[in-house]
Symmetry: D2
Subunit: 134 residues, 4 copies
């Protein structure tokens, strides 16, 4: 298993008039966690895109336990629980500074060749970086 922690601070723009983070904005937090987890492995998602491979989302699930609020410094614990083959799944637990679990999420993505428009297996470079954790 590979795990990685990212911290980010809730922006005013991300709140809604309920005084909570708008429920659709967690997807953006997941994105930050994924990109930073990959960067930490030695891999820039941006570079992948430059080779003509993009990672569209196939499925997303979110559980809202307690609201995140403006200016909260969130801790996102990301897990990759199994080596990706045709799909890559990320799990996230999001905590506030009081270490309360606020949110659980899960996203499955695929690798898409932008020229052919077809999904492809996980690029070898990604597999190599992940293998030692499994």
């Amino acid at each position: 298993m590979y795990t990685f922690e990212t911290h980010l601070r809730v922006r005013y723009a991300e709140t809604d008039q309920m005084g909570f983070v708008y429920y659709g904005n967690y997807s953006m937090y997941y994105e930050v966690a994924r990109v930073e987890a990959l960067r930490n492995l030695g891999f820039r998602y941006k570079d992948l895109e430059e080779t003509g491979i993009v990672m569209p989302v196939l499925e997303n699930k979110s559980k809202y336990i307690k609201p995140a609020r403006y200016d909260d410094l969130l801790r996102i614990v990301l897990r990759i629980e199994k080596l990706p083959a045709m799909r890559m799944t990320f799990h996230y637990d999001i905590y506030n500074e009081q270490n309360e679990l606020l949110h659980i999420g899960e996203t499955t993505l695929v690798f898409l060749n932008t020229k052919t428009g077809k999904t492809v297996p996980t690029p070898q470079e990604v597999c190599s970086l992940l293998e030692k954790y499994f």
Copy 2:
């Protein structure tokens, strides 16, 4: 069962550099569908909030089948499959103008009394408007 159709056009702001609607923005489309479905029933969500009841999201699930793209005129078919008690679940199927199914979503919300901070059962007004469909 209660069903309602809403149409909305994809904004440039909602796309990302993949040329697709960013995966987190579907939550906003669901919100528009929910609010318009309730309005069609004779109920304004805004009025509910003014009585001190808000509807935070408890759970959300999304399946991305084909990408929605800039300027697409989307048709969102919303379903309420059962009468809400402590929770209210909405289902959505999203189609493009060629009638291709692009996306499936499901959101469960609760009713929260902002004064007590406690969840409450579905307000009688909402139940009354929905009962005839079940």
Copy 3:
């Protein structure tokens, strides 16, 4: 002068915890107004992009007079005050349902050839559609 009116309803996602529309979201409203104004002229911005011309923003100015709020049905009055040459400027006045002026904005865009990376004059097609108004 060419003027066009667009209506749009404020989404929950667009509010912030102040209970107002977040100040950055007016740019998105301007975008909707521009795209619908061009569509009304007989011109789809999407089609322009497919010819390899995009319209990046050069300058934007906004005055916030009164806050727009959740569920407000806004009326955006867009004006093109002069025939575009190398730049195209749009003006917007935004009103609520009580016909109060909430907001004034102004955006200047250019036409960029994506292949050469250079700005180009207003495409002939756009000029032709606009000429009769000036």
Copy 4:
């Protein structure tokens, strides 16, 4: 004059299909810069709101010189050029990692008492923290 530098990384969500940061998202970057600049002065905007004072935006101006792109690590140089009285104006210059100036912005905010609905002068606490820079 008070100046402060903030760094932030462009999120995928913030790009559009032109491959640039969507023009409306710079407002969010300004917000991050303002909040971090105030925090560095010893002042949390969140605490201000808890005393019943909010800071709505009165005016905003933006110049787009070169596009910011996905994954860019932006450096935002914020300046407060004069001691605020009834209004507080922030200036921003945004640079990429190659130290190219991408963007210039300026935002004027007021202090609003949420109970009375009236604007008020800059709170004494803010003045005290800023005075030594002027």
